[in-house]
């Protein structure tokens, strides 16, 4: 009975539309308020400086500008390095911070997180001639295999919990200060894999022809959230706008733009 299926689908579509329309009406109105937002411009494609203009662009910029628009607010963008950013958000100097920040319970004691706006998918970047392992399980099986990461980052947590044994002090993780240093260590043979998302991996593979490749299935379910000072009055409105953006397909469009189209245009 195809007609009934179609009817059902149409009914669902109408119901969904009706729901998002209702939500649109429910969104809080911030009455033109200016929100001071901060990021680092060091995480392609979430936030980075446009090579052509030097302006900050990326998924997080588009997403938060969209959130602000729906809340009738404007955004004043600032830049800061990672640790300064988080301290300054805690102190209230910036109202919202974002840099692919993984939501976890320990951090929730210091700051407020929004709902997750992105679930990261990590891949294993290895040297191009790697043959000893082909995925996370075969990598973990040999204790000689080492992974490079930056402390406290998504890559670090996925390496600990999805590749290794869940011990954050596991000596098989070599910690570096920057992402670039861990990739240098991979190239030099000090570590055997570095985890990264597909876009960054493509960037490194393109910049060093013949040096790297990607193996295995996507790993990791690290959720990224916006951060706010404890008790911030923005958490509720931002979550409401975020839910609407996810529901009406805008989120998919933004992801498509930065994860597929932006790369293809390079």
């Amino acid at each position: 009975m195809p007609s009934i299926t179609k009817l059902l689908a149409a009914a669902t579509a109408i119901a969904t539309l009706g729901l998002s329309a209702a939500q649109a009406q429910d969104l809080p109105d911030l009455a033109g308020r200016e929100i001071i937002a901060v990021t680092e411009n060091a995480y392609v494609p979430l936030n980075f400086a446009d090579p052509a203009t030097g302006e900050g662009i990326g998924l997080e910029y588009d997403l938060f500008n969209e959130i602000a628009k729906r809340l009738n607010a404007s955004v004043k963008w600032e830049l800061s390095s990672w640790d300064v950013m988080i301290q300054a958000v805690r102190d209230g100097q910036f109202e919202v911070g974002m840099d692919g920040i993984t939501i976890n319970d320990e951090r929730k004691e210091q700051i407020d997180f929004s709902d997750s706006y992105l679930t990261s998918q990590q891949l294993m970047l290895v040297r191009a001639d790697e043959t000893r392992f082909t995925d996370a399980a075969t990598f973990a099986a040999d204790a000689n295999n080492l992974v490079g990461a930056q402390a406290g980052t998504t890559n670090f947590y996925v390496a600990v919990y999805n590749v290794l044994d869940g011990d954050e002090a596991n000596p098989r993780i070599k910690l570096f200060d920057t992402f670039g240093a861990s990739v240098s260590a991979l190239q030099a043979g000090d570590v055997d894999t570095v985890l990264m998302d597909q876009t960054s991996a493509n960037g490194y593979i393109g910049a060093n022809p013949g040096a790297f490749k990607v193996i295995g299935e996507p790993l990791g379910t690290e959720d990224f959230g916006f951060i706010f000072a404890k008790g911030s009055d923005l958490v509720g409105p931002v979550n409401a706008a975020l839910a609407q953006i996810k529901a009406d397909g805008t989120m998919d469009a933004i992801q498509k733009k930065w994860f597929y189209e932006y790369n293809a245009a390079q």
Binding site: I86, A151, G152, K174, F176, S184, A188, D190
Partner: protein, 266 residues
């Protein structure tokens, strides 16, 4: 009217700065002992104390030896040695320690492994990059960087000894080496010691840069702890207190040594 200096009162001889430092330490460590959060941070980062100390000690000892040799080359009167030594000092001194650290770790060390393997080829042996530990690469980088500064300290000390002293010693029939050992060096040491101690203190602090290579020193453990928990300010308070403990105890030791040298000269 003649100027008669006032006899020093007891109050003017009290080392007030040292009392203030003692108070700072008492407050700091009392805070760590009584506050559960701070005790946990202290446990997390104090494990790096030994690493910081041995990395600094080895690098400083090696840098002092190389620095002395470079200074001798610069003051030797041999044109070729002098030019080479001057080139070394000017080039090394002009590169930031952090940048140099990456050169040593990811360019020089892999190149050296290739060279060693080439040399070992005839006997069928080989080594891997992992046998050259990151801590040692960091030590090499710190050693080379600081040797350039220390060479200048030694040169200033050697050149501060009056020419007449050397002529007198030579006319007594002392060999060049004995002149240096018995006449020039003991006098130069008085000039050398304060800036040399200064460099040691600054090396203790600069050893924090080895954390960029993931060497588990105080700073690295602090970075790991703070990026996991977002307790940046709290963690760096403890890190600062630990470094101060090291540097101030060292300063006091050097003061004792200087006093001892002065008394022996009378």
């Amino acid at each position: 009217m003649t100027y008669t200096p006032r006899p020093p009162s007891i109050l003017s001889r009290v080392p007030w700065w040292l009392l203030a430092v003692a108070l700072l330490f008492v407050l700091g460590f009392w805070g760590i002992a009584t506050d559960a959060g701070y005790s946990q941070i202290f446990r997390a980062v104090s494990g790096g104390l030994v690493t910081t100390l041995w990395v600094t000690a080895v690098a400083f000892a090696a840098a002092t030896v190389i620095g002395l040799l470079v200074a001798l080359a610069r003051t030797s009167g041999n044109r070729i040695l002098c030019e080479i030594a001057t080139f070394y000092v000017e080039i090394i001194r002009g590169i930031p320690v952090l940048v140099f650290l990456f050169y040593v770790a990811f360019v020089a060390a892999p190149a050296m492994v290739v060279a060693i393997n080439w040399a070992l080829q005839p006997i069928g042996a080989s080594i891997t990059i992992r046998q050259f530990d990151f801590a040692w690469r960091a030590i090499v980088a710190l050693t080379v960087c600081y040797s350039a500064f220390i060479a200048e300290i030694f040169r200033a000390g050697i050149e501060s000894v009056q020419r007449g002293q050397l002529e007198a010693a030579r006319s007594l029939g002392l060999s060049r080496w004995k002149c240096f050992r018995l006449v020039t060096f003991p006098q130069a040491l008085r000039t050398i010691l304060p800036p040399l101690a200064n460099d040691f203190v600054s090396m203790i602090k600069d050893s924090a840069l080895v954390s960029a290579l993931g060497v588990q020193d105080i700073t690295q453990l602090g970075k790991v702890y703070s990026s996991g928990t977002f307790l940046f300010f709290e963690t760096y308070n403890v890190v600062a207190l630990l470094y101060l403990t090291l540097t101030i105890s060292l300063s006091l030791l050097v003061r004792l040594l200087e006093r001892y040298l002065h008394e022996n000269q009378r």
